[in-house]
Symmetry: C2
Subunit: 338 residues, 2 copies
């Protein structure tokens, strides 16, 4: 999918936490609405694993909490997603399998520069995001507490749990089992591996009950196999394998406790958050289970746990089910009015 | 692993439900204890996905419910497990990738012949089993209600749920992404695919909380990666890829409703079960969730749902955690005394 309806912020020579410097690094983003003269109506809404800014648009609209008539909504594309600097679009020598490791902290540092240097904003209204976008949301609240009065991370966590790490080892293993992957030095996409990656992912993305109830029919799929091919394989076949692996590393190593000043302590980092938070897991999310967030909010000074009920699992936060979308929108409404 | 401490029952030309005939088919089994003169003390305890008879021995022993001093315990090896007729040990033309599809019904028919023809037993004390062994347990109660007064299926189901099917598509996809698999016509095992298979499986076998609490250390593993390599990759590297895929097909297509006389109805088949049943899911089993069994027992005339509490997930029934083993043993004790 090729779209050109976005802007790019030049990060220059961008030094990453793990040591590499991405020269002439780019942060792709799109904005919705108009920045007020006082620059006091901005919301940051980062993308998720393999998502692009347009994949966030289901939660933005007239009459919704994220209303462009009222707010200036900035959707920055995650490094590695194919629009911001990524294995697929970076020139040698840091191209393809040589693309360096990126941490959530790096993503938020790049976004912070966009917000402050490019837009001259010194305080946001809120940060929100789904899945890895939720991880970036937490990171914003930890890295820049003075700028972030409100957060609503949904279907994500402040630190990637060990089981979540293992789930990702599985999808990574499926992709890299394809010898056409060539350790990242493929000329054509390793489609067998991408399809296997997708089939593994399928079991994780939605709950047991979702499949029991054949709810994929509500998404327009005519059979279980049609869903596996049409939705899942289609989903990942349009991605680049190295991009997926770059973002996967970011995900596996997500941990706000690794931010400077917290000695690796998740709990210390959580305790430092000043934002009012509505933390919103999905009841049957298989890789970001509500238990992860229950642990978090016990250490956050001003957090409410609000569980999305129902059987859509992780994809409750993906904008595919209107009931869940309404629930999420209401959460944002409550947060923004507080 | 090569052991010779078992017997083999000749099934002769064994016709499978799907149409093929396995000529000179073999059912490998082992017995524990002594068959009484009245032939009234036999318990059948089938194996699970890739398990072999020795993998069931943790639940058999002096002073346990399955006490060889009292009962005659028959452990038949599932077709495809490498000991009974399997892709890896069947001569051409039905060898390797040509090994035919086997249903749970076929396994139970073979076991029924062993029990009746070889041992002359016309009524069992009970049938029990873990995981796919639980599926065979249900099938025994449906195919031979007059022979089966008690069952205790644990961590399994009477019909493979759609999500469970999808989980298996994922592990299958990871294995078959390895071009060394050659659609089953490999000369050496496709070890890259087997390792990927294992890594995918790792996320499913134990619960999120198990990993959060690092309980693999109680199993003797020194780190998460040590567990992924030492337990999981080791587990599947000693299996044959075609054998795994044969049993996987059996699993994906498990459904007692497909037994003759039930018109494909799971509920009708459940209602026909005469056995007293203790149905025992594990609280946090990710692919045989308790919900599957809750549905089942509503249709069974004489069933109790008894959930194994705790965080060990599917492997609560695998004999690796003493607390869960004690719980399962107590269930069997209660069942056998009733």
């Amino acid at each position: 999918m090729s779209r050109t309806d976005y802007e790019t912020f030049d990060l220059g020579d961008f030094r990453l936490t793990e040591g590499a410097t991405l020269r002439d690094a780019k942060l792709a983003f799109k904005t919705y609405g108009t920045l007020s003269d006082a620059r006091d109506n901005a919301i940051v809404y980062p993308t998720w694993y393999s998502g692009r800014h347009w994949d966030n648009e289901w939660l933005i609209g007239d009459g919704m909490a994220l209303d462009p008539a009222r707010y200036f909504i900035i959707v920055p594309n995650m490094l590695g997603n194919g629009l911001s600097s990524s294995p697929s679009n970076t020139p040698p020598p840091y191209d393809r399998a040589r693309f360096p490791r990126v941490r959530v902290q790096d993503n938020v540092r790049a976004q912070h520069r966009l917000v402050t240097e490019h837009f001259g904003i010194d305080r946001l209204v809120a940060v929100t995001g789904w899945s890895m976008g939720a991880g970036q949301t937490y990171q914003w609240a930890v890295s820049h507490p003075e700028m972030v009065p409100r957060i609503m991370p949904f279907c994500g966590s402040a630190r990637t749990a060990p089981h979540n790490f293992v789930f990702l080892e599985g999808v990574k293993g499926a992709l890299s089992a394809d010898s056409a992957w060539k350790h990242g030095w493929y000329d054509a996409q390793p489609t067998t591996g991408l399809r296997a990656f997708a089939r593994v992912y399928a079991g994780w993305g939605f709950s047991q009950a979702f499949y029991w109830d054949s709810l994929y029919t509500e998404m327009g799929y005519s059979s279980l196999e049609d869903f596996l091919v049409g939705f899942w394989e289609g989903f990942f076949l349009e991605r680049d394998a190295n991009n997926l692996l770059t973002m996967l590393w970011t995900w596996q190593n997500g941990d706000i406790g690794r931010t400077d000043g917290f000695d690796g302590s998740l709990e210390k980092a959580l305790a430092s958050i000043q934002a009012r938070a509505i933390v919103m897991p999905a009841e049957k999310d298989l890789y970001f289970p509500p238990e992860d967030n229950e642990h978090e909010i016990r250490h956050m000074p001003n957090a409410e746990l609000r569980v999305i009920p129902g059987v859509w699992g992780h994809f409750a936060g993906g904008g595919v089910n209107p009931v869940d979308t309404k629930f999420i929108d209401q959460g944002l409404r409550d947060l923004l009015e507080s």
